[in-house]
Structure formats: structure tokens, C-alpha cells
Amino acid sequence: MPTSSDDAARPDPLLVIDALTAGYGGPPIIDQVSCQVGPGEIVTIVGPNGAGKSTLLKAVAGVLPASGGSVRLGGQEITNRRADRLARLGLGFVPQESDVFDTLTVTENLEMGGYLLDRRAVAEQIATVLDLLPALKKLRGRKAEKLSGGERKMTGIARALMNRPSVLLLDEPTAGLSPELSTTFLGEHVRRLSEHGTAVLLVEQKAIAALEASTWGVLLVNGRRHLDCPAQELAQRHDIGELFLGRAAAGGTSPAKPAAATRAQPE
């Protein structure tokens, strides 16, 4: 299994995923996947549809039970911990869908995100988060079910940030966003998070844009890790890009085999 060489340049890992295996009761969807994220890093997991990217995040976030392997957060074993315990340990998770509380207002969503903070800290943190995502300021009183796709996603991320997570798991945060918005989102918002020292583990369909904003990349195929290397390196591997990253479909720069292109089509 090819792995990358320059691990030495990376910070000490905060989140360590080691040989994690999980699935939905049948054969495992992800099989002995390992990777790690350090403070200030953005690690993007890329791969074709059905590779198990979301499953990996769910297993880490305690939503789905892992049947093998382990997850450690800051040296502490957290495999198969209940999600509320993980939140207390500083793990934030923004799922791909149902990432907000539909019937609650934006402010209430943020308050729920800060459920573990005391009352004064909640108010402070809301101000902090709104400074980070200023577009939400004028939406505070609106119910989440009435928000547009982008507004929803921002609310979801803002909600996760309320708990001041040391590790943030983002499952396809740009799904449903326009390409321009996706680029700004990944390039600015996510990057700003990492600049504050948060460790970000990201799953993205828009792989090129994501890898460009990331520090590290992991390629997942059929539930197994195929590559684990700096994001730039992964983004520039032409063969892999054509096959799995949807460059042909997204950018249309290089001619790809029709079959492969179809398979790499994003949802």
C-alpha cells in the first residue's frame, strides 16, 4: 500500500485513526483505514462514490459503531464512544445531511452547539462564531428549515464551532453549493478554521478544490486507503485525478476514458 514519505513535516497528530473497520451490519464498508490529523491541518479524504468516505467520518464521530481498529483523540482512546462524550472531548462533526436543527432558529442552533458551555461563554462564542461567518448575522432569528443550502451549511458549521472543537469533521460541506461558493468556502472559511489551530478532517466530492485548500490528502477506494500524502502531491497525480477525483468531469482539462469518467461522476 503506497504511503507518503514526508510525515516528518507534519505536526504531532491530534486525531489518530488506526486500522478502523466499520459497516452497516453486512460486510465492512471501510476496511482497516488509518490516517491522522494534527492541529492546524486540513486533511481531505477523497475517493469515488461509495468508497466509504462518509462511513469513515461517521465511525469516527460515534454515529456508527466500529467493528475493528481504534480512534484516539489527543492520546485518549475514543473508539465507539457515544457522540455526546466525544463532544465533551472537543470533537465536532458536521454531517452531510441533517446538519442543522430544522425547527430551531439559527441562534437556537448555535445555542445547542454551545450546549456544553456555560451561559456567558455561549454569548461570547456566538459573537466569535458570527465574526467568523458574518453572513449569518442577519439570519439569527430565522428557522433553519427556511434557509438556503449555503446558509444551512454555514449554520451547521457555526453550530459545530460553538463548542470550540479541537478536531472538526466535515462531511461534504460544499454539497449543494455553487462551484464559486464552494471554492470560497473551502479556500477561506475552512482555511481560517485551521489557522486558529483546529484540526480539520474533510470529506469532499469537489476533490480538486478541496485538496487545493488542504494540507494533506487521503485517497480512499472501496473502503481501503490507497494513498496518504500531502494534498498538493495528491492533486497533481494525473492518473489518480482522472480516475477518482473527477477532474475530467469538473474541469474538463484532460480527456479521460469515458467509462472512468462516468464512474467518477459526482452525485
Partner: protein, 294 residues
């Protein structure tokens, strides 16, 4: 016209009792996605608890408190020891209906075994009748209306202003995300069952205080109306249940006054079926979550 005014007055009393019961019922559905058919029998059980307290000398206020507390404890226990374990076993939605129906039959017949097939009456004294034109309500009935309004307001404040209330709404909307926020959803769900059980118990005592005599089947007889009110408003929606209770309370009494008293519940149910045909999710429900086939 005077019949209409009188009917509206009566309807408000029925609506108040119904609202207390239906909101509790709907809270349970909202937080646990479960149509708890044992709800009516829990009401009866609470009414019996208050009856025993009454015989030991408790007045109406203390009885309401005791009935409420008893309903809360029974509901919490049912959720903890019956419904949640079955849920964990991934029992289907309809399987849960059968589970709750079985629990209902068990609770009702345990009450029958314990208290016998006789009728029971609270000793709470006769209350004065107040009149305004053709409107005539007793002090106790005005108290019932006031109690219902106060409970609805308190519930509204709880759900919108407190951390716990918001956590309940969050858990109800999106349980796994709530867990991800660090909310101990088990505890929040337990609190919701306590709260709804309290409303259930209070509704049981109030129902009996209003009908004056009751037996082991009284709550169960009332249940269908409660379910109808909750479904009319869109199950799981407290404000929907309040509206549903108001609509049913008024419709039953007005239909009774103008058409045929014996069929007042029939009208209520016909209305429910009609509404569900047009809006399967109820008046307040959201279109996506309830309806199955388009």
C-alpha cells in the same frame, strides 16, 4: 345564537382538558416517534392515584400535583423499561403501536383487578356556577380553563426560553445531531417523558373532576379524542395539538348543539379523516416527514 354561545363555552372546557392531554401525547411522539396508546390508561392510573390521595384528605390542588407526579413516574418508567428497549431492538413503527396497545391493555386491566369494575367519585365539593348571558360555567371549569392556558404558556416558555426546552426540541428534530452537540439525549428524552407524563396525569385528574365519576376504562375512552386532536394538529407538534384540541373541542360541542349530540365524537373523527386525506401530515405537520406515498 344562545345555543351557539353556550356550545362555545362548553367547547372551551372540553378543549382545555383535551389540550392538556393532547400536548402531552404529542410531546411523547415528538421526542420518541412513538404513538403511545397506553396514554389514556396512564391518565386513568393517575386519576386513581389522585383518588386515593383524595380519600386521605387531599384537596383538588394537591390531587392535581399527585396525579401529575404519578403520571410522570409511570410514563418515565414505561419509556425507560418498555418502549426504549423495544426501540433499541429496532421494532418497526407499527410494532411499537402493538407494544403500546399491549401496555394499554395491561395497565387498564391491572387497574380493573385492583379497583374492581365499580365507579369512583372525588370528594371535592360542589363548585359555584358563574353566568354571563347564556354562558354558564362552574368555578372548577374556569379553573380547568385557566390551568390549561397556564400550562400551555408555561410549556411555550419552557420550549423557547430554557436550555432544557430547546434541547428537547433539538433532540426531537435531530437526535443524532443533538447527541453530537454533547446533549445527553437519554436524559433529555427522560425529561420529556416526565413532563408529558405530568401533563397526562394532570389531564386525567381534570377529566375526572369534570365528569365527576370514573372507572378503569375512563381514560381509554377519552384516548381516541386525544389522539385525534394530536393528529389533527400534526403529531409531534405541541402547538398543533393545542390547535387540534381547540378545533375538536369546539367542533364536538357545536355539532352536538346543532346536529346530533350522540354523534359529536363521530363528527370529530370524520373531520380528522377528512383532514388527513387532504393533509396527511395534519394541520401543522411538515409535508415531508409523515406522508409516505405521494
Amino acid at each position: 345564537m344562545s345555543t351557539l354561545i353556550a356550545s362555545v363555552g362548553f367547547g372551551l372546557v372540553t378543549a382545555s382538558i383535551l389540550a392538556l392531554a393532547a400536548v402531552g401525547f404529542t410531546l411523547q411522539f415528538g421526542i420518541s416517534n412513538l404513538l403511545n396508546l397506553a396514554y389514556g390508561d396512564t391518565m386513568t392510573a393517575a386519576a386513581f392515584a389522585a383518588y386515593l390521595a383524595n380519600r386521605a384528605g387531599a384537596d383538588l390542588w394537591l390531587m392535581l400535583l399527585i396525579g401529575g407526579a404519578f403520571g410522570a413516574v409511570v410514563s418515565l418508567a414505561l419509556n425507560r423499561f418498555v418502549y426504549t428497549p423495544f426501540r433499541r431492538r429496532k421494532t418497526s413503527l407499527f410494532g411499537m403501536v402493538i407494544v403500546s396497545l399491549s401496555v394499554a391493555v395491561i395497565v387498564q386491566n391491572l387497574l380493573l383487578a385492583g379497583f374492581g369494575p365499580s365507579f369512583f367519585t372525588y370528594q371535592i365539593g360542589q363548585s359555584r356556577t358563574l353566568r354571563a348571558g347564556s354562558l354558564a360555567l362552574t368555578v372548577n371549569q374556569l379553573l380547568i380553563i385557566a390551568l390549561a392556558v397556564a400550562a400551555m404558556l408555561a410549556l411555550h416558555l419552557l420550549l423557547t426560553r430554557t436550555r432544557l426546552g430547546k434541547a428537547m426540541r433539538a433532540t426531537s428534530t435531530n437526535p443524532s445531531l443533538a447527541l453530537g452537540c454533547g446533549i445527553n439525549t437519554t436524559r433529555v428524552v427522560g425529561m420529556a417523558w416526565l413532563l408529558s407524563g405530568f401533563l397526562c396525569g394532570v389531564a386525567g385528574v381534570v377529566l375526572v373532576a369534570n365528569t365527576t365519576a370514573f372507572q378503569s376504562t375512563t381514560g381509554n375512552d377519552f384516548l381516541v379524542l386525544v389522539v385525534a386532536a394530536a393528529m389533527l394538529g400534526g403529531v409531534g407538534k405541541p402547538y398543533g395539538a393545542m390547535l387540534g384540541a381547540l378545533v375538536l373541542g369546539l367542533v364536538t360541542e357545536i355539532a352536538a348543539g346543532i346536529i346530533a349530540p350522540g354523534l359529536k365524537e363521530g363528527f370529530a373523527f370524520a373531520l380528522l379523516v377528512l383532514v388527513l386525506l387532504v393533509r396527511p401530515q395534519g394541520l401543522f405537520g411538515d409535508a415531508t416527514s409523515r406522508a409516505v406515498a405521494a
